[in-house]
Symmetry: C2
Subunit: 112 residues, 2 copies
DNA sequence: TGATTAATTAACTAAATGGTATAATGTGCC
DNA sequence: GGCACATTATACCATTTAGTTAATTAATCA
C-alpha cells in the first residue's frame, strides 16, 4: 500500500461519525465488538463492518480472547494524517486569507 | 452544519488523491479549473466535480473573473482536522502500543 | 455577429458504501 | 452433546461516488 493509499484509507475511514466515535471509545482502552456497538442504534453486523473498515485502514488492531475479538486503537494512521495536515499549517498560521487571494487574483507563492 | 458534519465532509473530501493534489496545488496560489485539471488524466467535468466536493467541504473558495472561476485554498477545515487528530496525540506520543493493549487485555484508561 | 475559450450541466454507467435480516461459525459452560 | 453467547458471513437493497460523453451557458475577442 502506497502512502497515498494509506491516506485514502485513513481519511475515508475517518469520514463517518460512527467510526470516529468508535475510535474515541478505543482511546480509553480495548473493547469488544459488543461493547463498541452498545452506544449505537445500528445493528451488530453494521458495527462489525465499521470495525473492518477501521482495521483495513490500520486504525484498529484486533486480538482473540475466547469468543471475543478485542479491538485496540492504533494511532499510526492518525500520525500520518497529522503530518499531512501539517504541510498546510504555515498557511493558516500566517493567516493567509483565501478570499483575499481570490479577489486580488494573487497567484504567487505566499513565501517559502 | 454540525461539527460532526463538517468533519465528515472534510475527511471524505480529503479521501481522494486527486483532491489532495488539487489542494497541494492551491497551497501555491489561486488557480483556474483548467490549470487545476492540467496535471491529471481525468476529463474537465471530473475535475469540476472534485472541486465542487472540496468547495462543499469548505476547503476551496471560488471567485469569478471574466470566464474564469479562480479557486483558492481555505484551510479552516484543515485546522478542524488537525485539532481532531490532536485529541489522540497524547496516545502516540506516550508510545502506547496497541498490540500490547490487546494482548494484555488492558482496559484501563492510559492516564488522563 | 460569430467564433473561441472556460466551465458547468445533463444523462448515463459501474462500482463502492451503509445498512438490513438471517444464517453460520466458534468458544465456553453445564 | 447441547445451549448460550460473541462475532462474522451472506444476500440483498438503496444511495452515493467517480467517471464518461455530449450539450449548454457565459464571457472575450476578432
Amino acid at each position: 500500500m502506497t502512502g497515498d493509499e494509506q491516506l485514502d484509507a485513513a481519511f475515508s475511514a475517518l469520514a463517518h461519525p460512527t467510526r470516529r466515535a468508535i475510535l474515541a471509545r478505543l482511546a480509553k482502552g480495548t473493547a469488544t465488538v459488543n461493547e463498541l456497538a452498545e452506544p449505537f442504534d445500528a445493528t451488530l453486523p453494521a458495527i462489525s463492518k465499521h470495525i473492518r473498515v477501521l482495521e483495513a485502514a490500520g486504525l484498529v488492531l484486533r486480538g482473540k480472547d475466547a469468543q471475543f475479538r478485542p479491538c485496540a486503537l492504533d494511532t499510526k494512521p492518525l500520525e500520518a494524517v497529522a503530518s499531512w495536515t501539517d504541510q498546510y499549517r504555515f498557511i493558516w498560521e500566517a493567516r493567509f486569507d483565501a478570499m483575499d487571494r481570490i479577489l486580488n487574483g494573487m497567484k504567487e507563492t505566499p513565501d517559502e
